[in-house]
């Protein structure tokens, strides 16, 4: 089986160049200026861009346990529509992924029915309850790529230190959801001007920053690889900068919503602006954009968090935290950061593909001869509409609902096979 992609503008080794790409079976067989090989399918990508398949290291597929929100099939199908070829599933499912059986279940189901590679992240503590170390070694043998209690945060510093030490034993990066429960309290949105104005309880920036400071120190002591999920504040970034300057293996990710929206979005009481960590101040948002641009923030992750309509259509303080992100991530970032010239397209692609796969030491991504043919073909001149009926995720909880955004994913290929073709 041969597929030839002609005339596309490909992202290769950090640059965008006009190249043809020949795929033989599952791998990239040839990259050249003008390939004239016989192929089963030829895609004329003139005027389009060819990117390495996007890699999302932070997603919630809700399977097992909450498949009314999402499942491995619908989730990976939505991921493919968003140009993702690999996603890492966070362990806060029901049951929590703290055992080999659940790891096996997710991997088997994704292999058999999925539209993207699914890598599993195991829990740091049993049931993510923050009380006992999970069976990391067994889960590692089953293929987990990292550990995280995402959605929760280990509050006990002594236990966290032990978890980190244990994770080092099995070469597992530790991904943290930084949230001090006492400081966060019953907060619903960022503790800032808008919380004062609309009377919702605030989650202070300190709730994130104190845990990041603590965990950087713990990781230094344990010699652990620490990855900070969904970073949001200027001070958090400062802590990461200092850790990196010291040469500590500390990395972080940012979500599209924290790059593009601030606390003012909550003025409408739209529960699709309710997420954790919350949308922060404009100053924090700008700091995140700058840090992404400079490389201080290593990569972009969606924190795809589907919730059913009946859960989100509630009073603001009764609705769950989180929004979906697979299908919106690239288009909204392209429109709001690349088009106005704030971030170069090359940096956005790196942060959504090669950087996250390197960070978690996933199989190499990138358009290179011999690599798996995981590719995303995008037309930057077309537009995509996030109407509920067009969204492939089972849930529709996005603040970009009904918006028309510049750029459109046209094809996604996983191992040389089409997982998505735009209509």
């Amino acid at each position: 089986m041969k597929t030839l992609i002609k005339n596309g503008l490909a992202y290769i080794e950090g640059a965008i160049v006009k190249m043809d790409i020949l795929i033989e079976d599952t791998r990239i067989a040839l990259i050249d200026n003008d390939i004239t090989a016989d192929a089963d399918e030829v895609i004329d990508a003139a005027g389009m861009h060819v990117f390495p398949g996007f890699v999302d290291i932070h997603a919630h597929l809700r399977d097992p346990g909450q498949t009314y929100k999402e499942d491995i099939i619908s989730g990976t199908r939505a991921a493919a529509k968003g140009g993702f070829t690999s996603v890492c599933a966070m362990p806060n499912t029901e049951p929590v992924v703290d055992n080999i059986a659940t790891v096996d279940y997710i991997q088997r189901r994704a292999r058999e029915l999925g539209f993207a590679r699914v890598f599993v992240i195991g829990a740091i503590t049993k049931q993510s309850a923050g009380e006992e170390i999970s069976e990391m070694a067994t889960m590692k043998s089953g293929g987990v790529v990292a550990v995280s209690d995402d959605g929760k945060c280990v509050q006990n510093a002594k236990l966290m230190l032990n978890c980190m030490r244990y994770a080092v034993n099995y070469d597992l990066p530790v991904i943290i959801h930084a949230e001090d429960y006492h400081l966060a309290g019953k907060g619903q949105i960022h503790s800032g001007k808008i919380a004062t104005q609309i009377g919702l309880s605030g989650i202070p920036a300190l709730a994130e920053e104190t845990i990041i400071a603590r965990d950087i120190m713990l990781a230094e002591s344990a010699k652990a690889r620490l990855h900070i999920a969904h970073i949001t504040t200027a001070k958090s970034l400062e802590l990461v900068r200092r850790a990196k300057e010291q040469g500590l293996p500390v990395t972080c990710e940012v979500t599209p919503h924290h790059l593009l929206l601030n606390e003012e979005a909550c003025l409408s009481f739209d529960t699709n602006t309710k997420m954790k960590p919350p949308l922060r101040s404009e100053k924090d948002r700008l700091a995140c954009v700058e840090a992404l641009k400079s490389g201080l923030i290593d990569c972009i992750a969606t924190d795809h968090a589907p919730h059913a309509d009946f859960e989100k259509v509630r009073e603001f303080d009764h609705a769950p935290f989180g929004i979906i992100g697979f299908e919106t991530a690239f288009p909204v970032l392209y429109q709001s950061l690349v088009l106005p010239g704030i971030i170069p397209l090359e940096r956005l692609i790196e942060a959504m593909s090669t950087a996250p796969s390197k960070l978690l030491r996933l199989p190499e991504s990138g358009i290179r001869k011999g690599n798996p043919a995981d590719l995303t073909i995008v037309d930057l001149n077309q537009s995509s509409v996030f109407a509920a009926e067009n969204i492939l995720s089972k849930s529709k909880n996005t603040p970009w609902l009904d918006q028309t955004i510049k750029s459109k994913i046209i094809y996604t290929l996983l191992d040389g096979t089409f997982t998505f073709r735009a209509e």
């Binding site: 503790s191 800032g192 001007k193 919380a195 004062t196 104005q197 609309i198 009377g199 919702l200 309880s201 009481f269 009946f310 259509v313 509630r314 009073e315 603001f316 303080d317 009764h318």
Partner: protein
């Protein structure tokens, strides 16, 4: 009096949706309504055939009664929904509750709910005008209107008045709406309370003055409003004891002396006598606390009249 078209079908989520002129128009209308409340037969037929629903998901007998009396005096039919005995207690969503009520032909909702933004939700699901009777810590526009009405009635023009609000500013919906309304009408407002009960960014968001010392806050005030201090804030670690709070923030003869001699004394109720205010002040000739309650009915009548297009 005939309602002007500019008010027809409008929501009252908070006072930021209303201009200074519109607020003054509402106060003028309330003045007329107050006169009806002083008659022997306190009823006019202006909203006959209209149905008003008091949707109280959070208990508040006084506010609910005030809304219901207001609707009754305008001859509207009133249905009262109380969460404690409703389907909401059985797990029904607010959305489904509103769909059910709407099917019964409600023309206007008056809602009290612990969640900020819930009046907007009720309007979204019903399409009917909604008067916010208090949504969590967010807003309480009818309380603010009755407070402003009480000041206007006693002192005339609001512009240039020095108004001081003392107490749990953090958890008060009354303060937020009052600040919006009073500032719009040109008053200088100072808020005062312990730092742990003071939200951040108050000056920036509301353009008010923040004081932590009661004597400083009260200096030359034309109006002094006390707020209810709730015991549960103590267990939340926001202050050590009611006694200590009272020692530093109670409105008493000793503390009120910093305000103008004839300063108006107000309180949205219910009062904790001896905690935030002493009887010597609450029951003094300067106090309009009881009148505030009476004015509440008039203000709510005015709003219903204007929103539902009443004729008198």
């Amino acid at each position: 009096m005939t309602a002007t078209p500019q008010f027809l079908g409008r929501n009252v989520f908070d006072l930021d949706d209303y201009s200074a002129d519109e607020i003054m128009y509402i106060l003028e209308a309330a003045k007329g309504m107050k006169e009806i409340n002083l008659r022997e037969y306190k009823k006019i037929p202006t909203l006959r055939g209209k149905t008003v629903c008091t949707l109280f998901v959070e208990n508040s007998t006084r506010t609910r009664m005030s809304f219901e009396l207001a609707a009754n005096r305008l001859s509207a039919d009133v249905v009262s929904f109380q969460a404690s005995v409703s389907a909401l207690q059985k797990g029904e969503s607010l959305q489904d509750t509103v769909y059910t009520l709407d099917a019964m032909g409600i023309d206007l909702y008056c809602i009290r709910h612990s969640s900020p933004g819930s009046p907007q939700l009720v309007h979204k699901y019903s399409g009917k005008p909604v008067i916010n009777g208090g949504d969590g810590r967010h807003a309480h526009p009818t309380q603010a209107l009755l407070d402003i009405f009480s000041i206007w009635e006693k002192l005339g023009d609001i512009r240039g008045l020095k108004i001081t609000i003392v107490g749990d500013i953090l958890n008060s919906r009354v303060v937020r709406s009052n600040l919006i309304g009073m500032k719009k009408l040109g008053a200088e407002v100072t808020v005062c309370g312990p730092r742990t009960l003071m939200p951040s960014y108050m000056e920036e968001v509301y353009g008010c003055r923040v004081e932590y010392s009661l004597s400083e806050a009260l200096r030359d005030a034309d109006v002094v409003m006390g707020l209810r201090m709730q015991l549960e804030r103590m267990t939340e670690g926001l202050f050590p004891s009611l006694e200590e709070y009272s020692k530093h923030y109670v409105l008493s003869k000793d503390t009120i002396k910093y305000a103008k001699k004839d300063a108006l004394i107000m309180h949205p109720g219910p009062m904790n006598r001896g905690v935030e205010i002493l009887p010597e002040i609450a029951d003094s000739s300067q106090s309009v606390i009881v009148e505030q309650v009476a004015n509440g009915v008039a203000v709510r009548m005015a709003l219903m009249f204007l929103i539902l297009g009443g004729k008198a």
